[in-house]
């Protein structure tokens, strides 16, 4: 029987197009590969207030890059003030030539001041949730290539075995030219327990300082990310 006769037996409205090797093909089922965010993500991803985990502001967004009528992103959910020390974090993302990247975006994920994640997968009862703290933030870099977050100093979270992790933020870097999300961590200069943190301990000591934010004279924390070169930041396989 030819293909033509088989198709002829199917009512017109039920005929399907020829099978191809594509997303629906079970022979290639597996994790969807990562692709770059490209240079034009600003009207689709960083929302107003996305970089402000403490109060209400427009931090994180870049509405200057497109017409006002095209701001369709949602706003940050209303919240009260979370417990803990309010901190400001800023930094730049540098390429191999030491040039600050202008089309990049940073996301953070962190525990609250008590060291508890606002996640169904953190089932501990010994550390309290904070109804005013989610712990996720997103910031585009500004026209000078600087990203900024306002958040809370995270508490300490358990690590493998009986270890306790030092205060840290999980950080994702996205940008034009980045085919994969780059995952790193930000720790704090003189942070409680930096000396025996199980993740810092997995990093060669010559490169450990690339994961540690410095406190500046104005009290803000500064954390630069170097994608490549002499000062290349440590990135993790998760």
């Amino acid at each position: 029987m030819t293909i033509e006769t088989v198709v002829a037996n199917i009512p017109l409205e039920d005929r399907e197009s020829a099978p191809r090797l594509d997303n629906q093909d079970p022979t290639i089922f597996g994790q969807t590969p990562s692709q770059t965010v490209g240079p034009f993500f600003h009207y689709g991803l960083p929302w107003k207030g996305g970089a402000d985990l403490v109060g209400k502001s427009d931090m994180g967004a870049r509405p200057d890059l497109f017409g006002e009528e095209h701001y369709v992103l949602n706003l940050s959910a209303p919240t009260g003030i979370p417990e803990g020390e309010v901190i400001e974090i800023a930094g730049q993302i540098f390429d191999a030539k030491g040039v600050a990247i202008l089309d990049a975006m940073i996301e953070i994920w962190q525990a609250n001041a008590a060291g508890r994640y606002a996640s169904v997968d953190d089932t501990r009862e010994d550390a309290p949730l904070d109804p005013h703290f989610v712990g996720f933030g997103r910031a585009s870099v500004d026209p000078d290539g600087i990203y900024r977050f306002r958040t809370i100093m995270p508490g300490r979270v358990p690590g493998p075995g009986n270890t306790l992790q030092a205060p840290h933020l999980a950080v994702s870097v996205f940008g034009r030219g980045l085919l994969n999300r780059l995952a790193t961590r930000m720790y704090f200069q003189d942070g409680d327990g930096n000396g025996d943190d199980p993740v810092l301990g997995a990093v060669p000591d010559t490169r450990r300082q690339t994961l540690i934010a410095r406190r500046r004279d104005d009290g803000h924390w500064w954390f630069d990310i170097h994608l490549q070169g002499e000062a290349e930041t440590v990135f993790f396989a998760l």
């Binding site: 594509d22 692709q35 993500f41 991803l45 095209h70 953190d122 979270v157 493998p160 996205f174 994608l227």
Partner: protein, 238 residues
Amino acid sequence: MSDVMPYTREDADFAPSLSTDYRSTVDRSPREPLIMIPPTLTETTGPGAWDRLMVGPSGIDLTAQHKDVPQGQRIIVSGRVLDDRGRAVPDTVIEIWQANASGRYVHSVDNWDAPLDPNFTGAGRVVTDAEGRYSYVTIRPGAYPWGNHMNAWRPGHIHLSLLGPAFATRLVTQMYFPDDPLIEIDPIANAVPMPARQRMVGRFDIKTTKPAWALGYLFDVVLKGRNETPFEDHDHDH
């Protein structure tokens, strides 16, 4: 001590961060190998439900965000978000952004002289249901030229961003269209080795095509899944 169920590692079929045909990767990709870290609560937790992050309309119809309907071919994209064992990923946000029918973005850095469409922004958000299903309406994005090399054109694509259940599952990718000859000469799509590249190519589907209204495309997104502890046989002493 914390109970941590780690996620599977990234698929070996992912693009290397350095993929020289995509020129922007050369100065923006790390040269040091990624460092393996023990999975902790930081990586296995995530912000979960999107309504804690952002409030406002969900944006599932990108053709209904302005006064009139946009130019171009109306399409319905639907599918499921699954983990790499085929289990549904419910209640996860998918953020969408794309160019208009002419391949132009509503972004001031996009200076290609294809026309803007006053009735199209190209940004939206959907949340998966209890079975991991999602669906949104948009117009098919056009191809556009870019500066990677002489006569470089991106195949039509929709940018997708998924939070997934955990920091470890974060994914940004692009969906391509099955009848597009530009895919096989595109350095960004081809940074992913074959056949995994074809996981990013949607399928035309007559069943989800709405008569006299819109063409249907299917696209499933597969995230990293949780590793399971080996099954213990409790019946050995029967």
